[in-house]
Symmetry: C2
Subunit: 315 residues, 2 copies
């Protein structure tokens, strides 16, 4: 089962699983603005259930699942501040319901949950390893951390084989490019593909580590290893770049005629800016041998090719 399987990372995982010959059940609530889209799995032979991860219909669906890839959630910072209760419902309460159903009907299933590096808030030191304090800056970070911790409570209290992964900034095929709420990378990619100007706040010197979605899919599958059970891992990239460099790499990869321009910080954004951030992914490399395979320029070239052939992602 892949929850959130019609979304960005979920649908890439579904494509991989289908290619590997797995029987795949996709669960996705198709909540508007969350990133789910039926076209992301077009042509695949998979079961699709349109419902929330906390829906009681999951009791039946979970009862014969061997693995649950629990990727469902709300990812927008802004939306979480506009409607905190809704964010808690999608990132925390629904997951509590799913875990409780799973415990009752299929506790032996392997579970991999996707969390986010946003649970750390501002980096007090870089690179940020898993022992760094978790001080989220917005409701979305609070709700994602609570969802992650619920998974670990179930892992330890009931000896269930559950792993949570704190993902860094992810880019690649099947991301909803039309939103401004899913991080800087899809905004950069959309802007470049439209040959428009990429705007950077400040001087663009803040650094980020980025991951091509195929690397994330590798990490999710690798995290089903026994030695990963009951643990939380960063999934990031040792190689980081300034936002200005990232923007230029995107422009080069897409062959865009757009430019990069720096502008003043909007007053309401600076307060929630986290400065530079780089994940330390030593723990997952040591435990299960995962390391990213794609450098940013190669990942961006593949990304650009994908979207050029499917212009509907831009409209």
């Amino acid at each position: 089962m892949v929850t959130g399987g019609l979304g960005f990372i979920g649908s890439n995982l579904v494509h991989r699983l289908a290619r590997l010959g797995a029987r795949v059940r996709v669960v996705d609530a198709l909540v508007p603005e969350h990133g789910g889209d039926l076209r992301n799995v077009e042509g695949l032979d998979v079961d699709i259930e349109v419902c929330d991860v906390g829906d009681s219909r999951l009791v039946t669906m979970l009862s014969d699942a061997d693995a649950v890839f629990n990727l469902a959630g709300q990812v927008s910072h802004t939306a979480s501040m506009v409607d905190p209760e809704r964010d808690l419902l999608y990132n925390t309460t629904s997951h509590a319901r799913m875990l409780e159903m799973l415990r009752q009907v299929r506790p032996q299933a392997r579970v991999v949950h996707t969390s986010t590096r946003q649970v750390y808030g501002r980096a007090l030191r870089t690179p940020v390893d898993e022992s760094h304090p978790t001080l989220p800056l917005d409701v979305n970070g609070v709700a994602k951390l609570a969802g992650e911790q619920l998974h670990l409570v179930y892992a330890h209290a009931y000896s269930m084989a559950i792993t949570s992964l704190r993902l860094t900034n992810v880019y690649g095929p099947r991301q909803r490019l039309t939103s401004n709420e899913l991080g800087v990378l899809p905004v950069f990619i959309r802007t470049a593909l439209r040959n428009e100007t990429i705007e950077l706040f400040g001087d663009g010197s803040q650094r980020r580590d980025c991951l091509y979605v195929d690397d994330v899919v590798d990490a999710i599958l690798a995290a089903t290893a026994d030695s990963a059970a009951g643990r939380v891992f960063n999934v990031g990239n040792d190689i980081d770049h300034s936002l200005a460099d990232i923007a230029q790499i995107v422009i080069d990869a897409t062959g865009s005629t757009g430019q990069v321009r720096c502008r003043e910080w909007p007053a309401d954004h600076q307060r929630i800016d986290i400065g530079s951030f780089r994940s330390d992914s030593t723990a997952i490399a040591t435990a299960i041998g995962w390391r990213p395979a794609f450098e940013l320029d190669e990942g961006m070239r593949r990304t650009a090719t994908f979207y050029r052939d499917r212009p509907w992602y831009l409209s």
Copy 2:
């Protein structure tokens, strides 16, 4: 406004505020088993509203509040594992609703929220200061941490004067003694007052720091200082005791004819045992000068006197 104002710590705070001449509005949902009881504020001239902290009626009640002491919540470990969703509702989602109402109608109110040392989980080192990782072991700890973090997000995102306090084991008057779910201290006190045998798991050598409820009320009031805004503090005791010593102090203070007996750990309890725990409360002492005033034997003597005069707490 005191939410959870009919409960243990809440009602002690209400008594103090009334004595100081404050106009007090008590909000309490009187959820069965949560500890709220109208008899806890008997004889006081305060307004009482029986509703949840997330109830939309709070919009009106909050609109003229100068201070909100947000103590409402569910405190039972076991109940949180039996019904995770309910715990998330009372400790997280309801607080998100309250904070959003407050932001809209009375952002200038001073807010003090009570969290718990359980957000830390097992002590990786002692004493435990605020930089210790927060790795809760049960759903209650996850939900309380999320509630605390929501308060801090509102403090920082909207410049609201909000403080959260991570309380250690608290004892004293007006605690619901008949529950086994509110920590070891009320169980020890009830057992001693009934002249029954206090049972300790293992050898009783695990250590805890304990606070008399008047010290906690002092900390809550002190936390309204400007220098505490936007921060989270431990509220604990530098002096810790073994559970065996605590049991003996309770027996001596109550004049109980009961005994102390050690027994094997029940299989289902050992997994959630946290070992020894002591809070480091240096940060709150430095920031606002709070320190506990009561030693355990003196606090327990006052506690025993209170309950001997009010036997209904035992039935």
